[in-house]
Symmetry: C2
Subunit: 527 residues, 2 copies
């Protein structure tokens, strides 16, 4: 029995003393920082320590922040609480507002986190509470990383992946389009170029299916669909505008960030990105939770396979496919997984402007359009069209091709671009970054492989996606013959330093291999 009682010697409760809110013009990038003066009475009374998590309250709102302590009254005075730019914006107050600060309660899911670190299996409730704490920014960077690494290493079992997906889809906003089917397509990523969404959406929407596509910006790649679409039109749209556009045009190509569809995922990415962690369980939970939250009922999922793709072998692709199918079925999402050729980049351009150029050339039926991009987009669109009960199995590809060849896809794309706010763009004269160099073949032969990682890396070093016109333009693809001195690709950059970085990387390894025609590897892909 635990039956003892505490009796007071000499004490009194500590009253909450308000401070004055101040905006500190420091950008701490996704990390809320609060600044207190070392002589601040509250700091001394509460016994805070630098880097402790504190809770800041004002005007009925509440944020969590990491504490930094200063002795410079020009940053904060003794009676002030400073907040870094993001934190100040999140709290939504004004400089001078009264503000309360206290030690943050530790996240209640921490014991569950410790069980996961120790390698135990977690329950649905555990995942719910962990994901809620993550979405509310109650986890420190250290705790977030521990969760990601612990889930990565122990390999979540498929029930746990379902629990995590369900928990992640619940904490954010959930859209309801009041009709079925709501179709979407998604690629697990890893292949530069590969801008099929910007072709698939106008084709499918032109057919009349509802396809409200929200995409991400580049995280580790040289361009995300949102970055490329932004070359042509606005992508940061308020939800009301987005709804209107989708209702009128049956489709959109917007950035998903404003929709707050999976706030926990946005937080997790901040540690997954620097660690390049992309475990199957986290990939499935991240992708499917966002689709469910976006109101999708039907999804075509693209898993590219190749030696430098995320998935390197057919058995691995099949394992991943089963995991996606298991979780999707639990979540009542109709899923069609397609395994595609991921041996090399898709299309010619790598980087927002270069990729926008390729997309528009396909839509315009321009002879310079990359044929592989066109073919892949038609196949994916065909599968999506077959979600329509009125389309016979096997007819999707031909219908998609007709929509594209007839110019109806282009007309739909132009309608969407204008609805989202068109930006001037001419695919005959795209605004590429002003500096460039070419990488040449050192010998004659046939291109036997192109390394997705290395080309993506060179494009990023050149400045993509931040510099929109930067990137890599592929002049040769696998199987093509080259002579010594032929240009393999051209790198574009705006800053001399960026160009140098890209050049050094290309000099270390161009990413291309030249060999005999019989050395081009054949790869079985499903479609």
């Amino acid at each position: 029995m635990d039956t003892t009682q505490a009796t007071p010697g000499a004490a009194n409760g500590s009253a909450a003393v308000p401070l004055t809110l101040r905006r500190v013009a420091i950008d701490t990038y996704r990390e809320n920082v609060a600044y207190l003066h070392r002589d601040c009475a509250v700091y001394r009374a509460e016994g805070f320590q630098a880097l402790a998590k504190v809770e800041v309250r004002a005007n009925g709102r509440r944020i969590l922040a990491t504490l930094n302590v200063t002795t410079d009254p020009r940053i904060v005075r003794c009676n002030e609480l400073g907040l870094s730019e993001d934190a100040f914006a999140q709290l939504g107050g004004q400089g001078g507002d009264p503000v309360l600060v206290s030690q943050a309660e530790p996240a209640s899911s921490i014991p569950a986190l410790h069980r996961k670190i120790a390698g135990e299996r977690l329950t649905a409730d555990d995942f719910q509470s962990i994901v809620r704490d993550i979405a509310e920014h109650r986890y420190s960077k250290i705790e977030l990383t521990a969760f990601v690494v612990a889930c990565n290493q122990g390999e979540l079992d498929r029930e746990e992946v379902y629990f995590l997906t369900e928990a992640m889809s619940r904490v954010g906003r959930r859209l309801d389009w009041h009709e079925r089917p709501v179709v979407d397509k998604h690629c697990i990523g890893g292949i530069p170029g590969n801008r099929t969404s910007m072709l698939v959406v106008p084709i499918v929407a032109a057919h009349g299916m509802l396809c409200p596509k929200t995409s991400s910006r580049a995280i580790t790649s040289p361009a995300g669909t949102a970055d490329t679409m932004e070359v042509l039109a606005g992508v940061e749209l308020p939800m009301d505008t987005l709804s209107d556009i989708v209702r009128e045009h049956r489709g959109c190509l917007a950035w998903g960030g404003t929709a707050q569809l999976s706030p926990a995922d946005d937080v997790l990415i901040s540690v997954e990105r620097p660690l390049s962690i992309d475990s199957p369980g986290q990939m499935v939970a991240s992708i499917l939770s966002k689709k469910i939250a976006a109101g999708s009922t039907h999804l075509v999922l693209d898993i590219p396979v190749g030696p430098t793709a995320k998935v390197r072998s057919m058995p691995e692709a099949q394992r991943l496919r089963k995991l996606f199918e298991f979780v999707a079925s639990r979540m009542n999402l109709t899923l069609d997984v397609v395994i595609t050729d991921g041996r090399q980049p898709v299309g010619a351009g790598i980087g927002p402007v270069l990729e926008a150029r390729d997309v528009m050339r396909v839509l315009e039926n321009d002879p310079r359009a990359p044929i592989d991009l066109r073919q892949k987009a038609l196949r994916l669109a065909g599968r999506m069209l077959e979600f329509d009960p009125d389309v016979r199995g096997g007819d999707g590809f031909a219908i998609a091709r007709d929509i594209l060849d007839s110019g109806r896809a282009l007309a739909k794309m132009n309608a969407i671009i204008h609805a989202q706010g068109a930006r001037p763009f001419d695919h005959n004269a795209p605004e590429l970054a002003r500096l460039s160099f070419e990488v040449m073949a050192g010998e004659c032969g046939v291109v036997t492989s192109i390394d997705n990682h290395q080309l993506a890396r060179i494009a990023r070093l050149a400045g993509a996606p931040k510099v929109r016109g930067a990137g890599v333009d592929l002049l040769r693809k696998m199987g093509e013959a080259v002579a010594a001195g032929d240009a393999l690709y051209r790198v574009h950059a705006d800053f001399p330093a960026d160009l140098d970085f890209a050049r050094q990387a290309a000099a270390r390894s161009s990413g291309y291999r030249i060999g005999g025609a019989d050395e081009v590897p054949h790869m079985f892909v499903e479609f």
Copy 2:
């Protein structure tokens, strides 16, 4: 073959432009932060991003820091680079010095880190490069956490623990005392009170053995040996002074931080602490690498076992013992592991001043001295004395007791205290924190258990170790009879808020159980 060549289009190298160094009076606690103005030419040219790792060079020195970006010229102007307090001190320059900043090269051991995250076994070389990067602050908090969690979860095998220990002992300073044996004792921790080092060192040094003890400050506990010793004497000693003291008095009780014995460990602690991770492999590597670096040749290691100790069962203690023995033998360290009673705190006081009081009472042979602390210290000292080739096996305890009872241990302790810089202290009137309350037994019976965690937690909430006079004074120990209303322990605090926190925690659970005399669990311990 990868045989291509890069040819320039239009580019030039970017020259390094120096900025002016400025100290920014912000304490960011063990995390180096660099501040640049958003309009700074270098910032724009290099394309830095907030939270990127940058390398800062001045006067031939180099540090790594996380970048924060500001628009407030009162923090830094366009031509300045600001550094947070710790970072500024590390760089060792003066405000106004010319300083260069560039993107930090990513740590070269990151591929090895990724292999560990994926669950692979690492080589000695992998551990060397990871530990070197950690010691040089090349890892972000996220990467550090990933390393700690990956090592924790996959359970390093014993060869890997040896590689990690070897790597950690190599990166720091290594002391050489030019004689053998150099003896030390260490406890794996987790038991409040338990201040045996402050008794063992004077006993062993009085016998004439070399015992240069460096200790840590509290990390998650209410007091470390360094915190408690600091009540009596200075503990932050320059290496030269430390050497002189050890040479003259054969022993010391100093803080280990200044010695820079295991800089990688100091960095790892910054993420292990918030996660409460203490895996066997990391414990062994952390403890043994520091002992080797401190020049110890012989070590007595104390593993307390009990239901609320770090090690909860005898089989677990034996597994840990084997791991310590395996690694110690590879490192040529003579090791004697003792498994001790960890069912409750050792001694009466928990908190720096209270523990210093207990220690001095044992040395003074005061009748109020806690008998359990005295007995445990004598047993540990006895084992250390038996490292002396001239001491017969089994005679150590009696020799230790003679040294203590005769007052020679007290004389030695006073000599060490004076050499390190004595502080006024009277164990008859220790300066306890001014507020207090008592926790009473709710019923009559016998104390059947005392929860180490809960008592440590209450002492920390009361302010220990930061408030030196704060903590918990145990008035009853296991097996003692109590009547309802008898005081079990007294809590001391300086701040009303601290007292309230401690009182609330004690009200939720006092940490004591009262039951029948037959319910006191018996525990087999080795010694």
